[in-house]
Amino acid sequence: MLALSTATLVSVRGEIEQSHAALTLLLVVLGGSAGGGRPLGYSLALSGFVVIDYFFQAPYGSLAVGKTLDWVVLVAFLASAFVATELLARARGEAETARKRTEEVASLSRLGSETLRHARADDALEALSALIRSTFSARWCTIRELPDSKNARRWTSAIAAEDPRVTGRMRELEERMTLAASADAVADVHRVALATSDGSVVIDSLVGEDASSRIEAFGLPLFVESRLAGMLIVGGSTQQPIAFAPPRRRFVATISYYAALGLERVRLAREAQDARELREANRAKDEVLATVSHDLRTPLTTIKLLAQAAAARGEAAGASIEEQVDRLADLVTNVLDLSRIRAGGVPLDVALNTAEDVIAAAVSRVQGVLRGRHIVTKVDLDQPALVARFDFVQTLRILVNLIDNALRYAPEDGSVEINAERNGAWVAITVADRGPGVRPEERSRIFDAFYRPRSEVPDAGRAGLGLSIARRLAELQEGTVEYSPRDGGGSLFTLRLPAVDLNSEKFIESSILEAFGT
């Protein structure tokens, strides 16, 4: 272009002034720097300088400058050409940066939509790794869970995945980078592992400016709520390095969030699946328990009937066999109850009930296991009945368990006292014995399932379930069961149930009307 313009201009040299030539050549320089960037712009500017001097300034065909004015023209040309080239180059640079930004934004939005679009968390990570690989024009990209997590998995997208050398190198770098990046326990979202051109793996920071900009691979630790969840590793090869200049790094930091999100999604999906399986296993277990306990009751009935028949014939063993059968039946009920409570399958029929009704039912139920102990109930009949909101059947279970427990620890021929009183918002039913009490260090544990105080002699009939069941059943009805040492020695168990005031309700009104009216 320069030669062509020069030739044209030379042919009409007689009719133009040197400024015309300078302006024309300036145009050529502008064109050149617009198309070819700084280097071409500057070299055209210098060539133009020489061309003007040589062809268009007298003496023609020589580099000697004749007049001072000619110098002015030459310097002005060169300065204009340089300034124009520089300005154009900067504009081009900015345009280029803007274009890259736009590209980054576009690929981020693609990342975002890929992460969300796929119904299965797995597919999302698959797509994500392919997208990241193509964004970096890399040979491979792997998103992986930490190898120490259970059933750790990886999602890889790779060119020439079947080439064992590529895969071998890929795996090797994955391991080294994971090791390097997870070595530091502190969660640093800017940490990055780089495989440099000399083959070594170094730890660098995404916010640093000094790292080498062309690398074989980089690996990012992925954090979810400052917990290291996995790694994102992007690799090229020594022949095809990855451009990793500082502006790129900000972008990399952002994509790591998407990859971390994807991993978190996989983890949550897996947990949901585990929970589902656990629930099903629980239900199956519950069914088995229900069937087994149901099936156990029939042979227990046979044994009990046989034992009673033996006792009727005067055989001493009969009575104790019968007692053991009852204990076994209790145990079966307890195990089934505990399983139901844990599975959340206790049917509740919460209604207005009175404390004295449930206490009386409990006392009548434990008549067979008193073994010489007495039960003393204290209900003040001059006071209005204590009314609370609770499930009668489950509360009966609670009381029977508490009384049964107290009977076990009460001294022989001793007594168990049952009391009920209004206590603020609660109806409190207490079961008290004069047994050894519970040692302070064991008080927090007596309500644990299968816990038995260490001091207790092993006893086949007891599995340590009664108190645990009592407490859980109380909590299901928004009540509580608590232990406290009894004044003067022994244990005091308190069952609290939500009290109901009938004064404010229709009940009193209708009772009064009935009593005085009809």
Partner: protein
């Protein structure tokens, strides 16, 4: 003049069937046995027994259906042997026509007592049922609507009386909460029936010797109440 009662025991467990039958025979009853629901229904139709002992875990038919079938043609009491603790099931059984139930593992004394109570109830036709019940010191005079302990009159509210009357008419048989609601408050729209258990507590305080250990009105947990004659 006590006549011999015919009792049909329907249970697939041979040992339980044998032991229950032996004990009932010893108690003076004539006992028939059946292994399945089908056999039970056949024997029932042929022999028209005075009482049924029915196991719920029969291999060929659900116990509750056997109850319903029997109820279509006989009013003889049905005492059910249940292996489950579920109260809802007991209520359903009572509504299907069973008169009483015992839970496994039960004792023979318990079962015999229930059977005896049912036979006593069934022997007397409803129209000839005693209009005056005496339970220990307590006298319940149904036609005159009077309750006395010894010679002392006990004053009841209409609701309390209605509950006592319902239980007395069904003496020895569990009456479900629902049945009590229906009979006591049946004609009253929007009745305060959820106070039933409170009313029963008040009633007990008036008629029981020791309300802390009731002997007359027995709570059937999760099911209802039973008046013990």
């Amino acid at each position: 003049m006590k006549e011999r009662n015919t009792i049909l025991v329907i249970d697939d467990e041979p040992e339980i069937r044998r032991l229950v039958s032996a004990a009932l025979t010893e108690g003076g009853a004539c006992v028939l046995q059946a292994k399945t629901a089908a056999e039970g229904l056949r024997v029932a139709a042929a022999e028209n027994p005075d009482l049924f002992v029915l196991d719920l875990g029969l291999p060929d038919q659900a116990g509750i259906d056997v109850c319903r079938e029997l109820r279509q043609w006989t009013s003889a009491p049905i005492v059910v042997l249940s292996a489950r603790q579920a109260e809802a099931e007991k209520v359903a059984l009572l509504q299907a026509g069973a008169d009483d139930y015992v839970s496994k593992p039960f004792g023979m004394r318990e079962l015999a007592a229930r059977i005896e109570a049912q036979l006593r109830r069934a022997r007397i036709p409803l129209r000839e049922s005693p209009s005056v019940l005496k339970i220990g010191e307590l006298t319940i005079d149904l036609p005159r609507r009077i309750v006395r302990r010894g010679s002392r009159m006990i004053r009841l509210t209409p609701t309390e009386w209605s509950i006592l009357q319902t239980l007395a008419v069904n003496a020895g048989r569990p009456v479900t909460h629902q049945d009590l609601f229906n009979i006591v408050w049946g004609r009253e729209f929007g009745s305060p029936s959820h106070y039933l258990r409170v009313y029963v507590t008040h009633l007990r305080r008036k008629i029981e010797v020791n309300p802390a250990e009731p002997r007359i009105i027995i709570t059937e947990p999760g099911v209802g109440y039973r008046l013990e004659p």
